[in-house]
């Protein structure tokens, strides 16, 4: 089992799925010769050729729409949006079309596409290369939204997404691409979409989060452990539709819940998590449900001091966890 980076796990999953199933193909801006602006598709153009690794015109609605069409004709397209921020022109195709095709046709047609996009901040990308966009889609039945935190999860979940019979948005944290490494089996495996993963067991409080912040929470949990406080860390992995069971179980057990997202606070996926807990675990709670999130400003600024002010960090998570533990 090799230790590889988060982005290498993306490439590995893509390669293996393309080897396994000749219907899988990739399309997006600069995914071919250049191998993607982040190099997620590096080497695939060389291995599978131009016909299966398509450089598209600069037009996201077409990227999504063409993928949808191809999927209805039996293909398994994996579309790349160069940055999650640039998924906006494709919202109509994703929400009005991909999410509704099975339902509106009464199960006659379906749309097995994956849309991959790098999201998240901390890389000096400013307003339009740092955003978390999941909340825009996290109220659209018919879609699934996967946001993995580790290379192991990346590989297993991306493979699952490609094999899924329904459209999956697969958001990869771009700051995790090279900074997060981990063991990844060479074997074929899939992980279940729709299931959260308890990344750390604990009895004293629960942190629920996803993506890069999972690592912040794990780091903070280790620090708290030195002081005898055992935090449970729940990695949502799929942020829509959300895994209620795991949330309810952990919240009921510890009675203290911190929800962490890098997105703006109001209307984030963490609002839904809070609502679920408030609906199901009210009498098990020992403290208010606490949300730690980005401020409610449009997006992360470019200048370092402002970016840091906005961006989630291990320190911010640790502080919030300690406050909650002491409540």
């Amino acid at each position: 089992m090799a230790i590889i980076s988060y982005i290498e796990a993306v490439t590995m999953a893509l390669r293996e799925e393309m080897e396994r199933d000749s219907n899988v193909f990739i399309l997006g801006e600069d995914v071919g010769k250049k191998g993607g602006v982040f190099k997620a598709t590096e080497g695939l153009y060389e291995q599978f050729g131009e016909a299966r690794v398509l450089d598209t015109p600069l037009a996201e609605s077409a990227i999504a729409g063409v993928a949808i069409g191809a999927s209805m004709a039996g293909k398994r397209p994996v579309a790349e949006m160069q940055f999650a921020d640039f998924i906006m022109p494709a919202v109509n195709q994703i929400i009005s079309e991909a999410a509704r095709i099975r339902y509106r046709s009464n199960n006659d047609w379906h749309c097995p596409i994956v849309i991959r996009a790098p999201y998240g901040g901390g890389i000096h990308g400013a307003l339009y290369h740092s955003q978390s966009v999941e909340a825009i889609f996290a109220n659209q039945p018919g879609l699934k939204i996967v946001m993995p935190s580790t290379p192991y999860d990346v590989k297993g979940l991306l493979k699952a997404a490609i094999r899924d019979e329904d459209p999956v948005l697969f958001f990869e944290h771009k700051k995790a691409y090279r900074s997060i490494k981990g063991e990844v089996p060479d074997d074929d495996y899939v992980l279940p979409i729709g299931k959260a993963d308890v990344k750390r067991k604990g009895e004293d409080l629960t942190v629920i989060t996803y993506g890069l912040s999972v690592h912040f929470a794990l780091q903070a949990a280790e620090k708290l452990a030195q002081d005898g406080i055992q935090a449970e860390v729940v990695d949502l992995r799929t942020v829509y539709p959300i895994d209620k069971e795991t949330i309810i179980e952990s919240a009921s057990k510890t009675g203290k819940v911190l929800l962490v997202t890098e997105d703006n606070k109001e209307g984030s996926v963490m609002s839904e998590v809070a609502a679920i807990i408030a609906e199901h675990c009210l009498f098990d709670l020992d403290a208010p449900i606490n949300r730690l999130a980005g401020p409610d400003v449009p997006a992360m600024p470019y200048a370092l001091p402002m970016e840091k002010y906005f961006m989630m960090s291990p320190e911010k998570v640790e502080k919030a966890m300690r406050d909650l533990a002491e409540f």
């Binding site: 299966r52 077409a62 063409v66 949808i68 209805m72 039996g74 099975r102």
Partner: protein, 334 residues
């Protein structure tokens, strides 16, 4: 000299089939309005005036292999692709057996996998990139398949038209873009939608040929679409075809077109009704007698009556079935 349809490569049998299908489409459409006005069905959107374009185009394809991505007026095209009158009536009555959506979508939102009629939605023009995607799949699989996508001229101003057409142009995909230009987008006349002389003027910007033809002439449409399909199958890429027609009805049963166009304008358009001119053509070609015509009307009446009765009496989907088919594994009740 050969008759026009023979020049276009159409046999007598086929041309009369086309006429029969046009007549069927029109009579079905008329019945839907009656049902609507008598309160039996809540909504009608219709293709009256555009049948020649739809049926001419559909007949130019391989209706056993090609894909159709219709828009909401394309009753003629979907009938030609194998959807039945009964099925369309089931959709009009929103009944469970409706193959398009099981009563989930409004009428005119076609879809039937077995006939390669691709499911459509209400937001206009989203189907255009889908057609490119289907053609891309065909190209990848080296299958000689063409996709035909239709849309109104107003809808050709959506970004998705541009992006889908451009994609097909770059990858030289076997797509036929058929714009049914009926001069209005609901109340907005052509001159307020587009400054170009013709929608087909846009083809050059996508590196594909563009044609503007008389949408009231099914044979001209057939010929033009046939050429485009042949080109597409030879790997020579997409074509943009604009058929000039007129919408003979209000936009839908919810619209009153007297607010924005004169009775005179509609009256003039009705004189160009493709059903009338095509009837004249097949009669003059000696392919339709007075008796056959009578008989045909009777047959069609019978089909439509039967379909109406069936659909009216058919059951609705159960309320709880609303929960089904969100995902592959949604059983309902989740």
């Amino acid at each position: 000299m050969d008759q026009k349809h023979k020049q276009a490569g159409l046999t007598d049998e086929t041309v009369i089939q086309m006429y029969e299908m046009m007549l069927l489409t029109r009579r079905l459409d008329e019945r839907m309005w009656l049902l609507n006005r008598s309160g039996k069905i809540p909504f009608v959107v219709s293709g009256q005036g555009q049948e020649a374009a739809q049926i001419g185009a559909a007949f130019a394809l391989n209706r056993d292999e090609d894909y159709l991505l219709p828009y909401y007026r394309d009753f003629g095209a979907v009938l030609a692709f194998g959807m039945t009158v009964k099925e369309l009536m089931l959709s009009a009555f929103a009944k469970a057996e409706d193959p398009n959506s099981g009563g989930r979508q409004m009428p005119g939102h076609f879809g039937q996998r077995k006939n390669r009629i691709v499911t459509g939605s209400s937001p206009v023009t989203t189907q255009v990139p889908h057609a490119a995607g289907i053609a891309l799949a065909a190209k990848m699989d080296q299958k000689p398949i063409v996709s035909l996508v239709t849309f109104g001229e107003g809808s050709s101003n959506q970004g998705d038209f541009h992006e889908g057409a451009n994609f097909a142009g770059v990858h030289q995909l076997p797509v036929i873009f058929l714009c049914e230009n009926n001069q209005y987008a609901i109340s907005v006349p052509y001159t307020k939608q587009v400054a170009a002389k013709n929608i087909s003027d846009r083809a050059v910007g996508y590196g594909m040929p563009g044609f503007t033809i008389d949408g009231n002439d099914p044979i001209a449409v057939y010929q033009c679409v046939k050429n485009a399909a042949d080109r597409a199958r030879r790997g020579e890429g997409p074509t943009l075809i604009e058929t000039i027609t007129c919408r003979l009805t209000p936009h839908t049963s919810d619209d009153d077109d007297r607010a924005y166009r004169t009775a005179d304008e509609v009256k003039k358009a009705k004189e160009l009704d493709p059903l009338l001119s095509f009837r004249t053509y097949v009669k003059e070609a000696g392919l339709l007698t007075e008796e056959r015509e009578q008989q045909l009307e009777q047959e069609i009446l019978h089909i439509i009556n039967e379909a109406t009765d069936y659909a009216e009496q058919a059951p609705y989907a159960s309320p709880e079935s609303s929960l089904q088919h969100v995902y592959a594994d949604t059983k309902g009740g989740e």
